[in-house]
Amino acid sequence: MATDTKVFGGRPHALTDAPFTYCPGCTHGISHRLIAEVLDELGVEGRAIAIAPVGCSVLAYEFFNCDGIQAAHGRAPAVACAVARTHPDAVVFTYQGDGDLASIGAAEMVHAATRGDNIVIIFINNAIYGMTGGQLAPTSLLGQVTQTSPYGREVARDGHPIRVVEMLSTLEGVALAQRVALDTPAHIREAKRAIKRAFENQIAGKGFSIVELLSTCPTNWGLSPADSFTWLQENLLPYYPLGVYKEIDK
């Protein structure tokens, strides 16, 4: 009976067997897997160091088989900067959500980018704070209802959502600034290519690379996983266009 079984997948070596702590239907599982596949393909798990944020992915260091450091809220780029500068052969990446990276960690993000720190930032943008229960994020859309914008995001009070990769693409230190999405198989394949390019940049010493992954949060969006993808396509994609905003040597 088992003779007909063909294994197409399996867990990448760079992922541990620790059960994910993410909600059902959330895209963190996809992005973790893509990173792990890239670490496997590049053969760099042994010299990789993951910097985990504060937020839903606070336990990311449990899920990646490489060494890991948990950072204070927003400080992952500063932590990564120091690890990269003291261990030039290390492959250092941060994994940060929108609140962590673009709000409380905005200064650390901008300065790591402008210094051209030789690190990779994987930026999970789902336009909401997940772990704390669905508050207004720096990337929440105008009109978006959250726990702390119960009447919708208003420009007069909350300002405009921030486009991170566009902003960082203006900085000289940036080697790659790209936005991808995790809503369709084609987009997911593109996301993996982007993540791989980011890590290849770092291995080649090209400096700072950021890949923004438009992601879902079914729990705090109040939608089913399937409807979440539709919401992403109808709302996030128009405001956050996919594409390569900066790539050196291209």
Partner: protein, 369 residues
């Protein structure tokens, strides 16, 4: 424990405290320095920026105090001997990172060249961060080791001790000095280069190289029992620190009836005041804590039977005096004399405080005189 000096190294050079500390840190094996400009510690960072590249280490002026301490956290987590320096307002910003260092049991050295506060305060010397260093270095149940040198020479010697203690006990160590010590020049015999203590750090997150399971550095414990166990383990280490690491210098205390307690810059003028008091026939002595954490309770306890009074002399409104009172616990009077705002207590005004206490004591005793 004190770093070795060779005959050649005992040649003295004239250096600012901030620079002597920086050079000694390099000789103690500091591999990474992260800072941010603030007066009166700027010479320290400037010195590091000049020397660190030649030593092959990492120097970076961070975008903020917060980033600098989190860079220290990253370097420490990956097993590197690392430090930062700042002055009082910067210390408040660093408290986030210091708490994370403590929570993740990471060794690092933080130098605070104190200035007056609160708020922006002033830029002149102060000891008003005593409570912050010993009680409130960050959120959560922890305290760092706190060292308080009082000469440029001692600043140079202390930094090596600070790194060694940080590694041995896996804890952040604060070196608490002030603008006077940071800025003044004194002859100093620098420790021998290459005398750094090498400590194995098998816990470090520096890449497993496919040779061991992955290491993780975190201060997160979501299960209450685990977090309690982590706190209890840390406080068990604090008990070892209390037992093993109390450091103090005593001056003319053998027969002292009025025992001054002072650290850092105020200990220097207190020492002169002790001599003046002795010339005036008052048996005064000075007990100078070198470790503020662990507080030298044993040395103070030993002087209680002979002491008619303790006098805590500080450059603040009265902070360490509370620790002296905790040790003395009502068994003998504990007085305070302090100046603030950047003013260093003069020996003559300390003497006046000593004479007042001595006079009160004489009155109390000679009731029918």
């Amino acid at each position: 424990m004190a770093p070795k000096t060779t005959e050649k190294a005992t040649e003295k050079v004239l250096m600012k405290g901030n620079e002597a500390l920086a050079e000694a840190a390099l000789r103690a094996g500091c591999e990474a320095y992260f800072g941010y400009p603030i007066t009166p510690q700027n010479e320290l960072a400037a010195y590091m920026s000049k020397r660190m590249p030649k030593e092959g280490g990492a120097y970076l002026q961070a975008e903020s105090e917060v980033a600098a301490i989190n860079m220290v956290y990253g370097a420490a987590a990956s097993g590197v001997r690392t430090m930062t320096s700042t002055s009082s307002p910067g210390m408040s910003l660093k408290s986030e990172g210091i708490s994370y260092l403590a929570g993740a049991d990471l060794p690092a050295v933080i130098v605070n060249v104190q200035r007056g506060g609160p708020g922006l305060g002033g830029i002149q010397p102060s000891q008003s961060d005593y409570w912050q260093a010993t009680r409130a270095a960050g959120h959560g149940d922890f305290h760092p080791i706190v060292l308080a040198p009082s000469t440029v020479q001692e600043m140079a010697d202390t930094i090596h001790i600070a790194f060694d203690l940080a590694d041995r006990y896996r804890t952040p160590v604060i070196v608490l000095v002030d603008g006077m010590l940071g800025q003044m020049m004194e002859p100093v015999a620098l420790p021998e280069p290459g005398g750094a203590t090498v400590v194995e750090k098998p816990w470090a997150a520096n890449g497993h190289q496919d040779k061991r399971p992955h290491n993780t550095i975190t201060s997160l414990f979501l299960v209450a029992d685990d977090l309690e166990a982590s706190n209890r383990a840390r406080f068990a280490r604090y008990e070892d620190i209390k037992r093993n690491e109390q450091r103090v210098e005593e001056y003319r205390t053998e027969d002292a009836e009025i025992v001054l307690v002072a650290f850092g810059a105020s200990a220097r003028t207190s020492r002169t005041a002790v001599d003046l008091a002795r010339e005036a026939g008052i048996k005064a002595g000075l007990l100078r804590p070198i470790t503020l954490v662990p507080f030298p309770v044993d040395a103070i306890e030993a002087r209680i039977p002979q002491a008619k009074a303790f006098l805590s002399v500080e450059m603040n409104m009265g902070q360490m005096v509370e620790d002296v009172r905790l040790v003395v616990n009502g068994r003998t009077p504990v007085e305070f004399f302090g100046r603030v705002g950047g003013i260093i207590p003069a020996p003559t005004e300390i003497l006046a405080a000593i004479e007042r206490i001595a006079g009160d004591d004489a009155c109390a005793k000679g009731g029918d005189a």
